[in-house]
Every structure is written in structure tokens, then in C-alpha cells.
């Protein structure tokens, strides 16, 4: 800050104090109205512009335009010294990357905006990356694009894909384990004591204990948060999308028909598949149906593959 006028220092301090929002020249003038700044005065727009120019020369201020109004925001000293050490091209690219915020910017867009040759862009990006000023991130939406953002920023949900993605890869293991936990929670609510040791017989759970017990999305989310299964913060919408997946797999059902929005119950056949249940006495199921497939052991004769019949045999004849 050495060599800066007193007034310029004051303006810089004011802008830094207003982190996150930029100020128009009228607002700055209003702020310094009547204040004693020693030799320097900020009484008119001309005075202000003189000091602003001073700050601009040292990269301590950023300009932006909102409508027809010119606005100013402060740059901290560290950042300013960083930028001042950069080459002109690097600084220009850096400013675009900074402007893109948490969304990041694609290399092609940088090239188009800066109008620089690709080699120069790549060289500058490499240099900035080496100095840990910027980092490249993988976008879930556009996995093939190389996107850059400032080193200290956390990518937005649009870029990372939300809680289901780890390192821009869909974390199917995490999703599957959450699906199992949610299913068990709803199953326990729908058919209490289902996984208990006592009285675990098929006929006991014929009836769901009633729709009053059916959990809704908020309850499921509360259970997940309370159990400490994951340290990732899940919203109700995230839990709802997991419940939708379970509905698509026909493991749970929505109870919308009974006027219970967002409430779910497990399907009986998913219970049958998960828990070995006793068959009640006198039960006759003489004809095989596709519903009984999960009960058929050794349906595929591995020793003699010619004995198998495939549904696509007709298509591949």
C-alpha cells in the first residue's frame, strides 16, 4: 500500500469492507462527504476519479457496469500483488476465470472471449494452474469439457452434480446403500418387527399396520440425519429422488391415492424377496408364475447351457 495516497487507501478500505457488493461513485462520494482526509479531498467526481485511477493502476480495484451505472469493488492486497505479478495475458484470462465464479469457464469460452491464440491460452492456464491460482474441474453436465475456476472456490451443485456425485462420478455404491437403508426404514414402519427375531412369520404381516404409520419424505430425511449414516447433507428433494428410484424398482409405493402426499409403504413382494417367510398352511400355488421367480433356485442350468431358452432367441434366429 506504500506510495498510495491517503484518500485512495480510504476508498480501498471502504470497498474491501463492502465485500460481496460493489459501490457506485455516488455512494462513495456520499460516504466521504464532509470527512477530513488531510491533504487529499474527495469532494467531486473529478477528485474521486483521480484516486480510483490510482487504485486501478495498482490492480486494487475492479470495475463493473450495471445498466448505465459504473460500479467499483475492492481487491485485497494479496490478490492484487498476485495479479500484478502476472503477465498481461495471464491477468486477462485470470479475470475471466474469476468472473465465472463457482460455475467455472470452459477453455473454448476463454479463447473466444480473450481472442487469444490457443497456445497462449493453454500456456497461461498451465502457468496459473502451477501457481495454484486456478484449478480445473470436471463438470457432470459436460464431462468432456475442461472447465477452470479459482483455486479456492468450491464448484457449484450444477458442476458437481449434487450429493450423488463423488469426484464427478456417480457414486452408485453410496446411492445403493442409501436405497437399502430407506427401504428398511419404510419396511419397519409398514410392517413393524419385520426384521425382529420373534414371531417372524409370513401371515403376521399380511396387513400393513395402517396408513397412519407410513413415513413421509421429511421423516425419512430426519431418520437419515439422525442415524449419522452419512455426513453429506441431504435435502428433502434428494430423499424424494431416492424414494422415486425405489418406486421405479417397485419396492415401495406412493400413497397418493389415500390422500397422503409424499408418504410411502413397501410392497409385499419386496418383503418376500428380502426376508425368508414361512408359507402358511394349506396354501396352494399349483401354477408357476413369473412372480415366483425369486423362489426358483437353480433356474439356470449352468452345466448344460443348451438347456436354456432365451427370450431373444427369436430375434437372433
Amino acid at each position: 500500500m506504500s506510495g498510495l495516497s491517503n484518500a485512495a487507501k480510504e476508498i480501498h478500505n471502504l470497498l474491501i469492507a463492502n465485500q460481496g457488493s460493489s459501490l457506485a461513485q455516488e455512494e462513495i462520494l456520499e460516504h466521504f462527504k464532509g470527512k477530513d482526509l488531510g491533504e487529499d479531498k474527495i469532494e467531486s467526481v473529478a477528485d474521486l476519479m483521480k484516486h480510483i485511477q490510482e487504485l486501478l493502476n495498482r490492480q486494487l480495484i475492479n470495475l463493473s457496469q450495471q445498466g448505465t451505472t459504473l460500479k467499483f469493488s475492492g481487491v485485497d492486497l494479496k490478490q492484487a500483488s498476485k495479479i500484478s505479478n502476472m503477465s498481461q495475458d495471464e491477468a486477462m484470462i485470470y479475470s475471466y476465470i474469476e468472473g465465472s465464479g463457482r460455475e467455472g469457464i470452459w477453455t473454448k469460452t476463454i479463447k473466444a472471449k480473450t481472442n487469444l491464440h490457443q497456445h497462449i491460452v493453454l500456456r497461461c492456464l498451465k502457468s496459473l494452474e502451477n501457481q495454484s491460482f486456478i484449478k480445473s474441474v470436471k463438470s457432470v453436465k459436460h464431462p468432456t469439457r475442461k472447465i477452470y475456476m479459482l483455486y479456492h472456490l468450491t464448484p457449484s451443485i450444477e458442476v458437481t452434480g449434487g450429493p450423488w456425485f463423488t469426484d464427478s462420478e456417480l457414486d452408485t455404491e453410496f446411492i445403493d446403500s442409501l436405497l437399502i437403508i430407506i427401504w428398511r426404514f419404510i419396511a419397519n414402519k409398514t410392517y413393524p418387527n419385520l426384521f425382529g427375531t420373534e414371531g417372524n412369520k409370513a401371515q403376521l404381516y399380511e396387513f400393513s399396520v395402517g396408513l397412519n404409520n407410513a413415513p413421509d419424505v421429511a421423516q425419512i430425511n430426519k431418520f437419515i440425519r439422525g442415524s449419522g449414516i452419512t455426513n453429506i447433507e441431504l435435502t428433502d428433494d434428494d430423499v424424494r429422488s431416492l424414494c422415486d428410484v425405489l418406486c421405479y424398482e417397485e419396492k415401495i409405493e406412493k400413497l397418493e391415492k389415500f390422500g397422503k402426499v409424499d408418504s410411502y409403504k413397501v410392497t409385499w413382494h419386496s418383503v418376500e424377496e428380502a426376508v425368508k417367510l414361512d408359507e402358511p398352511e394349506g396354501d396352494v400355488a399349483p401354477v408357476f408364475t413369473f412372480y415366483d421367480n425369486h423362489k426358483v433356485v437353480n433356474a439356470v442350468d449352468i452345466e448344460d447351457p443348451d438347456q436354456n431358452y432365451y427370450l431373444d432367441a427369436y430375434l437372433n434366429q
Binding site: L170, F207, Q307
Partner: protein
Amino acid sequence: MHKDYYRTQSPESYLYTTLIRQVVGPVASDVLGLLMAKGRLTVGRLGTILGIPHRKVHAALVTLIQLGCVVYYTEKKPITHWNTNDVDNSKKKSTGQTWYYFHETGLLLLLYGGEMIAVVRREHGPDAATLLQAVITSGHVRLRDLERDDNGLEIHNAARHLIEDDWLIPTGSEGFQGVQDQWDDLYKITQASYHKEHLGQTISDVKRTAQVREETCIAFIKRITESLDHLKMGLVSSDVTSELLPSISKVKRNVALSANFDRFLKHKRTLQLTNMARHRLGAVAGQVYQAALSIVERHTRSPLNTHVTVLLRLVAGSGQSTTTGLSPATIRETLERQRDSDCSPVVTFRPSDVLSRLSHECRRALDSTIWSESFSAVKRPIDSSEPTTRSVHKKIKLEDNCSGSNLLSLVNAARYAEEDSDRMPKLQALLELLAKDSSVPFLAHGDHGTFFVPFTDLAPVIKLQTYKSCIRTVLGAPCLRILNCIIDHKLIDEKMLANKVLMKASEIRTKLAKLIEFQIIEIQEVPKTQDRNALRSVFAFRHRFDLGTNLMLKSLAFNAAQVLESLTALKIDNKILLDKVSRDDVQGKELEFLQPSELKQMELVYQHELRSYGQLSRILASLDALKFCN
């Protein structure tokens, strides 16, 4: 003709020709395959195309007609419409040729015959099963042909039971003739008489056709009903007495009886619905639902609804050069009529009717169906007495002639009656559960506390559930997840799909390719630019139930044919051994007459056969659910 011709023609052709090859022989199989390909042919044309002597073709046709696999139509002199004096002209046109058509019902009877016999054996006993077997293998029989001195009473009893339960129906000459031809003949006669009546009157062509069509329709229904009534009249009567059967009702000996496939389909529908209830609500709910269905099974309409469907199609196609098919309004009206018939008083039931049909085991299971907090702590009161009851039951069974058993059964009956009154609210609750299911309307409420089964609304659900189960089993749960998401969103692109089903893009693409291969889903291009540039277009997916079901039916039929073919091949490969085993001197003394290697081979043959029949029954289980639920 080479058998691969029928294999490539269509899966149905492959299945039915393989079946007929196994049951009747290769000539009949060729004749049937050709009739399926060409629609209708005369004996001359059949013989010429196949290169077989006419005598052999005739013999094959006789067998096929008898089995109900082929129907015929003998051309009559055309009716002179306008000018009755133009006799010479009509004589020229008269050829009197007999045409033969493919008829599916007979083949279905052969395909499902084993299962039908098993059902009848379970419900009506071995005599009835033997009779039905004789009817299916011969196509149709008269009782006098089966009667011997020693079995008259059993046969008549079995026939009476089967007729009363609609498993056997009388058949006349109309049963061997094509319905389309009968309709066409009647249409021509009605048209001629209509023109004669309204000669000189100014009536528009459209009105004329509509009126002729309506009159034909009435006459056609009348003819069918009259012929059936005529055949049924006095079929089973109690006033006929004979030396052989002095005191029981008897069946006319000279009426030809044939198996009723519609009745079997009703039974299959009951099983499918029961299994669906078991699948969705549990085993006890399934048993209760089965009891409810068994009350109404016989009186309900056929799943195929053949008469109505055929008639509507005939009406829609007659009197015009092109067939337009059924209009959506007609289909809606028919469905409404069917819905009305679903709740007619004959097919409604009360909870007490269901309870009376439940087995004692099921009634006991009913006690523990409703979950209660206190269950795990407190034992059910019935549990304490259950072991003694069971042991008593066993004793009674063993000692049938014991005088004390009657007393015990009376005591038991009184105890069961008391318990039944306690069970009624639970049964009522279970029936309510079936009626209020979130996605399948198993039951519906009728008047005065009765219930009925909405078959019309259930038919598409059975089809869809079987279809989805098939996809899940064959293509895997991820495919079902994707399919359900597509059905839910109607039209969805790949990116959106990936967001919704939370699966990796590469996996989704693989599964989508599989679903597209089976025509379960189809791709729709959504252009993003004005020039409809394919590179910039988005491709969305939609579900096509009809296409998917059709291909699945074809695939299943093909698989069934493959199983049958492998059975035929097995028999041909082991012909010498099988002939040896079936010799009279070898039967019963296999260990003496057969080499150890031959015994081992026989075991392999039987295992293969058993496994193949198991596979066939599994394939047919989903085939009939997809094919006959309308």
C-alpha cells in the same frame, strides 16, 4: 416342405407345426403350416404345393378337422340378388369347392391339454380327467363310443359333472365351419331379401348397408344361440332312466362333446389373479381371493369374450371393400357393457360365502393376519388348543369307521362355527383391503354389502404385471427401473433419465439398447434447430406397450416351440431305446432286460423330458397371461 420354412414364417407357425408334428405327424404339420401361410386352400392346391398325394392330404385334413385345428367351408350356389331369372349365370359361377382354414382353438386345446386334465383331475376326480383326456385327444366324442359294460356309470357321472361345470360342451356341425363364412352367407341372404322387400324404394347405400348389417347381426346371434340351445336341450336330464343308470341324471349318449377352452381360460384367470393377490398382499390374501373367485368363476364372462369380439369384427368388416376395424366408440361401448356384466347379481358374493369356501387351515391363518402390538408378548388363544386339535384330526382320518369320530366331528363343527363368527370381521377387513388396493382393483363394492370382481378393469393389469415381471426376470431390475421411469414421464431424454433413475450414463445406454431391441421402448427425435439437424437433435424415449407385448408373445411362442422341438429330437435320438422300453415283454422288467448303460441313458432321457416340460409350463404361464387377458 422343409420345416425351417415354418420356423421362419412366424413363431406361431413354428409352435403349432412342431406341436402337430409331435401329435399327428409330418403331413398334417405341413398342411397346417401351409394353411397358416396362405389363409385358405383347397385339397387340390394343398396337394400340389406340398407335392403330396391328395389322399394323404385328405387323411391329414380329417384328423385336423376332428381335432379342431382346421375348419372348412363348402361353397354354395351364389344368391342371385337383383335378377332372380338369371339362373344360367349363377350356375356358371357355382363351383362347390371346399376350402380349408386354420383354426387356433384346437391347437390351444392340445397345447394346454395337460394342464386342463390336471385341473379337472384335482377338481372332479380321475374319471373326469380320463374322459377329458379322451375328448382332447379325439377332438370330440360321443359317450356311446366310450361306454363299455363295466364303466357306464362312471363315464356318465364324470360327463355330467364336466358338463355342469362347463368343461365339456356339445358340438354340432357349425363348430367345424368358419365363422367368417357363416357370416358372409347370412349377410348375402339378408341382403337379397332386403333388396327384394325394398325394391323400388329410394334408400341411400349407406343406410341400406347399415340396415342389412343390423339384420344380419340379429339373425347371426339368433342362429348361434338357437343351435347351442338345441344341442344343450335335454343334454343332462334326471327323468331319463335306463337299466344301467336307474336313479341318477344322465347325459345323452349320442351328442358329440368337445372340450371348452373358454372354461379353462376362466380357471387360468382365477389363478393369475390369485397369484397377483399373493404377490401384492400375501399368501392369506391370495387364498381368500381365490375362494372369492371360485364362487363366481363359472358364471363370469370368458376372458377372450370370443362371441362379442368376433361379432363386432364381422359387423365392422361387412358390406365394404376395406376393413376399417372397430371404431374407438364401439370399443368403449363394449367395455362399458362388459363392466356392467361384471357386477350383475349372478357374479356378486357376500363375505359369508367366501368364509364358507375357505379351508380350515386358511381360517386359522386368518386369525394371525392383522398385526397387533401385543402379538409378540401374548400368544393367540387358538395356539394352545391347536396341537391337540391337529392330533385329533389325524386320529379321525386314520380311523374312519370309528363311531367316536362322528361325535368328534360334530364337536369340531360347532367349535369352528363359533370361531367363524369371530373371524368374520377379519375376513371383511381383508376383503376391504383387496377392494382398496392402491393400484390393482381386486374387488369392488356391489349393492347391499356384496362384492364383485371387476374383471374388465383387471384384465389390462394382469397383462401389464406379467409383462413387467417378465422384463424384470429376463432383462433385470435396472431395466424395469428405467422402464417405469419412462412410463411415469411418458417422454424423457437420456440426461433427464439419468437424473431420475440415478444410474451411470453408460449403464443406462446399455439397458436402453436392450429395451429398444425388444421393442419395449421407441426413440423419438426432438429437433432443436429449424433445419432438423440430427446432430443437434435430442432423442427422447417413450414406452410402447402394444409393440413390446407383441414381440414378447412372439419370443415366448418361439421358445415354447424350441422346447417342443428339443423333445421331438430327443425322442428321435433315443428311438431304439424308447421302442425297446415300451415293448410288452420289457415293461416292468427293465432291470433285467436293459444294460446298465441303457438304464443310465433312460434316466438322462427322463430327466431331460421332465426339465423340458417344466420349462414349457413356465413359458406357457406367461404366454397365456399376455395372450388371453382382454
